[in-house]
Symmetry: C2
Subunit: 441 residues, 2 copies
């Protein structure tokens, strides 16, 4: 459930094999397994977790792994705090900022998917197993829908969208002179001296050009991403588990593989290392830093929260949970160069350092066939398209899509059967662009 | 950590044996173990859970049981959500209500403890290992202090104060005609037919006059209170644990012992059964019912939260966590017969059914030597003193003390080394009365 991986096709296939097929195949071994569609997998329709107690076959738990399996994920992603320990990100005590509304029937917008089908934006929401979506245009809510367990006042897990928050905090600390991107990682975290990060710079971590032996290949049971998740309590460990029991204990085991600085390689461990750096540079926990510097200043409606490991350390790689309203407020602040209601919340330079983008050549080497010409900077995905759009992306379809030219922010939470965004990008990317163009008319 | 027991002397001795002594005795086997005082056990002074990561000897965890042991409890009781899964009690989206201030130096108020010592109210806070205390007089904050990890914006576990919330919700549903106290328990929970509750009424559950084989004797490792806590995930279970895995699964195992209706017998299982009844009568989870009917209507500043079991069921016996500000708002609503700012939040009849009190004769049979003349009604403790004060009480010193005559509400969160309130009542009860009298001058 709580694994954060890259949007590679390999990942999509691996996750498909592990989650969707593995559960379906027990039912039908001869015919190709049919993956339930959005309506069929709706946890409300399926009666999941209803009643006191729910019937035994409608119960979803963390400890037995059932919360990690599609279609149970359609319920679990909106109920993370009921499954695992969490750390609060306080909104403070101020009234929330208004989210003015100017609704449009964007559901009728037509688009062509990357595999050539013509569908409506409303159809696209089903195809991407959307739990909730909100579109801001010039700061006003023009479209907002929830499905299944999605609800305006219920936080949903953001998965690797979390990384973009960590990258933004790092960029903010750099702009404030509290963090030097050109410094060695060991300046902030000497404990990483004998690891892959021993000769890396903070900038290399921020842009994920680290040569580290860390596989996110879910088809390989020995992939380090499972060690990471077990160490952080994001997936249940077996009773006889004797490995690292915190994120910190896991990170100091990572060894170098290849060079730093040459190629983009999406590895969740880098985000967790950056979170460690950010904590040391600020002297604050991730939850408190996010609360103090952003969450309490954007007019958030709800506290956010992080999944935490057994000693309360937040998962900077994929553990943040927010409402869409508040995620939209954050996206709108980014679109406005760090300002909310004309007031600077984070330095404009912090946002500029993100939107300038990273090295396209480095990105190209990662082989994302659906993301040609993109780059990765400060843990954000930069499209370099003619709208200069940039994204925060998390597995199963979590998205912040900021389109400066269209003056638009789209935030979406989803629970797609397949983890890697390569599975939903063929619908998602044209859909977001189609809405942008519709709003520009 | 999360066990809810009665304020019996037996409990105090048992808990002392289990928690305070057992950890101290390893250090000094010859001399009587010295229990650290409030200052010595302050988690900030001790450097607990500071740093990224904290030093190994300063780490507190749930899984290894360290969060349950004094003095670690002084940190853990303010950080429950970082240790276990929790369910949110939303405050809604309205601005919080003001808490007007008219501060007085009540720390100098003098009092005589039940064992004859003369101390100041400020001294009493240390003697009771107070994490936070707030005194309202005529709705204004006259005194507010925090110690250790206590903080105005940080929820603390209320332990069995939770029961009084469940009792209040039950009384509210009864006043609204949605719950019949005279009905059989099985009208609402037929699953309890073959248990101790099969021939009990809702009223008997509300007033804890149930004959059920359920021991809260912590000195007996076979006491059912441990089965309860393990089933609800409130204490860590061993890897080979095969018992009930939810509150529901545990409750249906309880067998009758003695008669119903004759004697007060404080047993946490009754509160959990009442929570089940309340869920069935309202069709809502405890968290949602509390949010909708009370928390969103008293001007709360913060969401509250419940500890939950492995299927998300809230602990109605002892799992609620709130800030003191919001606990005080709730207490003030009770003092005002269910009104907040002149507006009825819960029916006045619901409060009247509590303050009328229960049977003193039934209470007397429970043998609380420090609580002579008291009674128990709707899961509240009624002093029947000349101020008509009544209390919600949780282990380790959690308290709501409502003194109608003095127009005063005291809320206190604490982490006393001994669970049972018999350990702190000799200081607490005279202290609360001394403050009441000082305010009446």
């Amino acid at each position: 459930m709580a694994l954060s991986i890259g949007a590679s096709i390999r990942g999509a296939i691996a996750l498909l094999a592990l989650t969707a097929i593995s559960s379906a195949i027990a039912v039908a071994q001869t015919a190709p397994p049919a993956i339930p569609d959005a309506a069929q997998s709706d946890p409300k329709t399926r009666g999941m977790m209803q009643g006191f107690p729910p019937p035994p076959d409608k119960i979803i738990r963390f400890g037995d792994g059932s919360s990690s399996r599609f279609p149970n994920t359609r319920w679990a992603f909106s109920h993370i705090r009921e499954l695992v320990p969490t750390g609060n990100v306080s909104r403070g005590d101020k009234p929330s900022s208004p989210l003015p509304r100017a609704e449009q029937d964007l559901g009728k917008v037509s688009l062509q998917t990357l595999d050539g089908k013509t569908v409506s934006f409303a159809d696209a929401l089903g195809l991407t197993y959307t739990d909730g979506i909100l579109v801001l245009h010039r700061g006003r809510v023009v479209y907002e829908k929830y499905f299944g367990e999605g609800a305006a006042d219920r936080p949903h897990i953001a998965f690797s969208v979390t990384k973009s928050f960590v990258g933004t905090l790092a960029s903010m600390l750099a702009a404030e002179g509290k963090l030097d991107p050109n410094a060695q990682v060991t300046k902030y975290v000497p404990e990483l001296k004998d690891t892959a990060y021993g000769d890396a710079t903070v900038r290399q971590v921020m842009d994920m050009t680290i040569g580290v032996k860390f596989s996110e290949n879910y088809a390989d049971p020995k992939a380090e991403v499972f060690d990471y998740a077990r160490a952080g309590g994001m997936v249940p460990a077996r009773p006889d588990y004797t490995g690292p029991k915190t994120f910190f204990e896991f990170l100091v085991t990572l060894q170098k593989e290849g060079a730093h600085g040459d190629a983009f390689a999406y590895k969740t461990a880098n985000a967790e290392v950056l979170a460690w750096i950010v904590k040391r540079a600020s002297g604050m926990s991730l939850a408190n830093l996010l609360s103090q510097s952003i969450w309490s200043k954007i007019g958030a409606e709800q506290d956010a929260y992080f999944m935490v490991d057994s000693i309360g350390t937040e998962s900077g790689g994929g553990g943040l949970n927010t409402t869409l309203h508040d995620l939209a407020r954050f996206g709108e602040m980014m679109r406005n160069q760090g300002k909310v209601d004309g007031k600077q919340v984070i330095p404009a330079a912090a946002v500029a350092d993100i939107t300038i983008g990273g090295s396209k050549a480095n990105f190209e080497k990662a082989g994302y066939t659906l993301l040609k010409g993109w780059s990765y900077r400060d843990m954000w995905w930069i499209t370099h398209n003619d709208h200069n759009a940039y994204m925060a992306r998390g597995i199963y379809g979590q998205s912040i899509y900021i389109d400066p030219k269209a003056e638009m922010v789209i935030v979406r939470y989803a629970s797609h059967p397949m983890a890697a965004n390569a599975a939903n990008d063929p619908v998602t990317l044209p859909a977001f662009m189609a809405v942008a163009k519709a709003l520009m008319k």
